[in-house]
C-alpha cells in the first residue's frame, strides 16, 4: 500500500492531498475505483473553476456506472490532469499518484469533517457490506 499519511478522504470517496504553497491534489480512492470498475472517461472542471466542499466537481464514467465527484474542499482549479483524460485507466491503476484528477489552490484549511487514512479505510470496509 502507498503511504497515505498525507491524504484526507470524504465520505463520497474522494481524496485530497495538500502540497506546498497552499496547493492540493484531488482524486478518488482505491476503494472507489475498485467499486466503479474500468474508468472509461472523466468529466472534469475547467481551469479557474471554483470548488465548494460537497459541491459537484465532475463525474467518473466507468464500464459499470456513472458516478458524480464532489469537492473535498474549497478552492480554485489550477490544473486538470491531462494524463487521465488520455488514459483514464490511470485512475484504476494508480489512484493516489498518477491518477490524480485536479490540482487546486485551497482557500484555507481543509474541512475537519474529512477522514484520515485509518478512519477512511474503516469507513470503506463498512461501506462494502
Amino acid at each position: 500500500m502507498p503511504d497515505l499519511s498525507g491524504f484526507k478522504f470524504t465520505k463520497t470517496h474522494e481524496w485530497v492531498r495538500p502540497a506546498d504553497g497552499g496547493e492540493a491534489f484531488i482524486g478518488i480512492s482505491d476503494h472507489a475505483q475498485g467499486q466503479l470498475g474500468d474508468v472509461i472517461f472523466l468529466e472534469l472542471p475547467q481551469v479557474g473553476a471554483r470548488l465548494e466542499p460537497g459541491a459537484r466537481l465532475g463525474a467518473v464514467e466507468s464500464v459499470k456506472a456513472a458516478s458524480d465527484l464532489y469537492a473535498p474542499a474549497a478552492g480554485e482549479v489550477l490544473e486538470v490532469n491531462a494524463a487521465v483524460n488520455d488514459a483514464p485507466e490511470l485512475v484504476n491503476q494508480d489512484p493516489y499518484e498518477r491518477g490524480w484528477l485536479v490540482k487546486v489552490r485551497l482557500d484555507g484549511e481543509l474541512p475537519d469533517t474529512l477522514m484520515d487514512d485509518a478512519a477512511y479505510q474503516a469507513y470503506a470496509d463498512a461501506d462494502q457490506h
Binding site: 475498485g34 470498475g37 474500468d38 472509461i40 472517461f41 464514467e61 464500464v63 459499470k64 456506472a65 456513472a66 485507466e89 484504476n92
Partner: protein
C-alpha cells in the same frame, strides 16, 4: 438468503478477483481490468467460471411433450447432440426465463439463469404432467466453465482424450473427457466469439479450471469475470435476463421471434404471443452513441415527438470503440438509421444523440 460460494471461489481470490454477489452466488466481477479481459476474449481466450447457472435434467417418456409446452422453440427439432436456445413464457407471454436446452439420448438438460433458479423450478414443477416426466435439479452439483475466444479450440484440443473438439459444431455438444474428467463439451457461449462451455461435476471444477488456465497461458488466456461477460454479450447483442427481458416483456417484442415457433402447436404463452406478433407496438433495438455518452438501464429514449422508449442495457463497447446500448422503442422508431436521443441525466439535463443500428454491434472476423 445467504449468497453461495462457487466451488472455485478460493482460486478466483488467488487470481486477484474482486468478488460480487450475483444471482445468489458470490461471483468474480473482474480480476484485473474489464477491458483487458474483454480484449483477451476477442483476440486470444478468456476463461469464465459461470457455475452459478442452473442445470435441470428432464427425463421420462413425456419429457419431449412437456418441454414442447414449456419452451417457445421447437424442441421436437432438437436432435441428440444439439443445443437449442429458447424462452419459457407465462400465459400472457411474459418471459419466465431464457434457457438452453440440450438433448441427450434419453434426457434433456435445461440451463437456466441463477437469479431465476427458484422461480423457474416452481414454474417447471407447476406444469409437470401427473406422470411420465421427472425433473432433477443438478445446479448445486454442476460446474460450468466457459472457454471463449479465437484460441479456445487450440487450448482445449490436446486436453480432450477422445476425438477433436473441432468436430463439435456450433450449438452442438457431446460427452468427453478433459484432463481425466468426464464432462459435457458444448460449442456455445455468451460472448460472440467461438468457444466451448464445459459442464461437469462440481468436485472436478478445480481440475478443469487449472488445466485450461495453465494450458492457456502460452496463448495469452486471461481469467474473465462477469464485468467482461457483460460488455462482451452486449456487443454480441445477446439479451440479459433481468435487464433486457423479464416477466414484463415478451419474446416477440424482445426481438426473439426466431425462437418462438407458433407453428409447432399450442404451448404456454402461444395464444398471447400470436396476438402480439400480429400487431407489435414496440421493438428491441441496438443504439449507438458517442464515445463519451454511456447510456444506462432505465434511461428514457426520446424522439422529436416525445418519449418513445427505454434503455435496458448500456455500456462502452471496447471492440466497437464507442458507447452502445440496447432497449425498447416504439415500433415506428425501430428502423436502423433512426435518430433518437437518450436522456443521460435529469438534473441537470444531459442528452446524448443516439442512432438505431442493427444488432449485433460486433461480428467475429470472417462471420
Amino acid at each position: 438468503m445467504t449468497d453461495i460460494e462457487v466451488p472455485l471461489g478460493a482460486i478466483h481470490r488467488q487470481l486477484g478477483a474482486r468478488m460480487t454477489p450475483f444471482g445468489g452466488y458470490i461471483m468474480p466481477m473482474q480480476y484485473r481490468s474489464i477491458r483487458e479481459e474483454h480484449e483477451a476474449v476477442r483476440r486470444r481466450a478468456g476463461l469464465f467460471d459461470v457455475s452459478h447457472m442452473g442445470e435441470v435434467m428432464v427425463r421420462g417418456s413425456g419429457a419431449l411433450d412437456y418441454l414442447q409446452n414449456l419452451v417457445s422453440n421447437d424442441v421436437s427439432k432438437l436432435a441428440e447432440g444439439r443445443a437449442l436456445y429458447g424462452v419459457m413464457c407465462r400465459e400472457d407471454g411474459g418471459i419466465v426465463d431464457d434457457l438452453l436446452v440440450y438433448r441427450d439420448r434419453e434426457e434433456f438438460m435445461c440451463v437456466i439463469n441463477a437469479a431465476r433458479h427458484d422461480a423457474d423450478l416452481a414454474w417447471m414443477r407447476q406444469h409437470l404432467p401427473p406422470a411420465g416426466v421427472e425433473l432433477l435439479d443438478r445446479s448445486a452439483e454442476t460446474f460450468l466453465i466457459a472457454l471463449q475466444g479465437p484460441r479456445a479450440l487450440e487450448i482445449l484440443e490436446p486436453l480432450v482424450s477422445e476425438g477433436s473438439p473441432q468436430e463439435i459444431r456450433y450449438y452442438h455438444h457431446r460427452p468427453g473427457t478433459v484432463a481425466g474428467v468426464r464432462l459435457r463439451l458444448s460449442r456455445t457461449g455468451y460472448t460472440g466469439e467461438d468457444g466451448f462451455e464445459l459442464y461437469g461435476p462440481s468436485e472436478a471444477a478445480e481440475t478443469i479450471w487449472t488445466a485450461l488456465y495453465e494450458r492457456g497461458q502460452e496463448y495469452g488466456l486471461m481469467p474473465a469475470g462477469l464485468g467482461a461477460r457483460d460488455t462482451l454479450r452486449l456487443e454480441a447483442g445477446l439479451r440479459l435476463y433481468g435487464q433486457d427481458i423479464d416477466e414484463g416483456t415478451d419474446p416477440i417484442t424482445a426481438g426473439l421471434g426466431w425462437v418462438v415457433k407458433l407453428a409447432k402447436g399450442a404451448f404456454l404463452g402461444s395464444t398471447a404471443l400470436r396476438r402480439i406478433s400480429e400487431a407489435p407496438t414496440r421493438a428491441f433495438v441496438g443504439i449507438q452513441l458517442g464515445p463519451r455518452q454511456i447510456a444506462r438501464p432505465h434511461q428514457a429514449i426520446f424522439a422529436d415527438s416525445g418519449e418513445v422508449g427505454v434503455v435496458t442495457s448500456g455500456s462502452f463497447g471496447f471492440s466497437v470503440g464507442t458507447a452502445i446500448a440496447m432497449g425498447y422503442v416504439r415500433r415506428e422508431m425501430a428502423a436502423p438509421g433512426t435518430m433518437l436521443k437518450v436522456r443521460l441525466r435529469q438534473e441537470p439535463e444531459l442528452w446524448a444523440e443516439a442512432t438505431v443500428v442493427p444488432l449485433p454491434f460486433y461480428h467475429r472476423p470472417g462471420q
